[in-house]
Subunit: 142 residues, 2 copies
DNA sequence: TATGATGTAACGTCAACTATTACATTGTTG
DNA sequence: CAACAATGTAATAGTTGACGTTACATCATA
């Protein structure tokens, strides 16, 4: 299973706002054209980012802005906004192991702490990267 | 998105083989009863574990055995067998960013290395745990 | 040869992702 | 105020993958 493209789309959105925000008004159509997906998909993701407090979207007039410096927005902040899984739910556990079997009865207890560690390792690595890292690398390529 | 239950089922399979293997013949029906899923699901996962060289399954007579000591089988070995994603594919990238847009043209280059790091952090953490850790914890609970 | 087990094909159901159309709502501007 | 450009969101559909189930050919042994 993969993490949905909402995550990479969201990063792309931030990169566009940061790169073009001073020159253009960043509408969902503008973003849809760069990202090459339907504007409604963009608006749903914008809505999630807005609910997480990472951006502001102007109604009526239109346009997206970022609410704080992009070197203060980590990949994890974005992931949390668009794709969040509760702690310990990265792994889909089979629902009803047999409670009459010694293994079935104890498998959850024996596994859960380790699965949490693995999920946390991924999330901690996500906290090491910021939107600014991406924008800087793009600017160097331009 | 979650990692499929094949992973936790596979761990459960190993725990059963290791715990009951000397006393009982471990058939797919036996496992299905402890794990509480359909025997055919079990056989598909057994087939993946067999292809990865982690277990042997006796045709005709039936029964599953492990090919090496369980303290030498890591969570990553299991994950690789039942759920493998190619390097850099944990994240689903939107397919066709606009090559005429400076951001769209460079987003892949700017992101890919970071996504690989995140995936690798998760996989490295998986390598720290073995089936033996799980079996020992279950035995202590019994 | 009968038996108990595996291997696998062929369906079916369900949930999530993504795409798309449609339209009510909103703020600005002529 | 009316026209407009844009957002917010509901509704629908196609696609994919996970998981469940039935059915049956194949296999090793008693």
């Amino acid at each position: 299973m993969q993490i949905s493209s909402r995550f990479t789309i969201a990063i792309h959105i931030f990169a566009c706002v940061e790169t073009f925000g001073e020159e253009y008004k960043i509408t969902s159509d503008f973003l849809a054209s760069s990202i090459n997906v339907n504007p409604v998909i963009i608006r749903k993701i914008l809505s999630q980012l807005r609910n997480a407090g990472l951006i502001e979207v102007a109604r009526g007039t239109g346009g997206t802005t970022v609410t704080r410096p992009v070197d203060k927005i980590t990949f994890y902040d974005v992931y949390e906004a668009v794709d969040l899984l509760e702690e310990g739910t990265l792994f889909h556990f089979h629902e009803n192991p047999n409670p009459c079997c010694p293994v079935g009865k104890n498998i959850h207890t024996a596994l859960d702490d380790k699965l949490v560690c693995i999920q946390r390792a991924m999330e901690d690595e996500m906290k090491k990267f910021t939107i600014a890292d991406v924008v800087n690398k793009i600017k160097r390529s331009m």
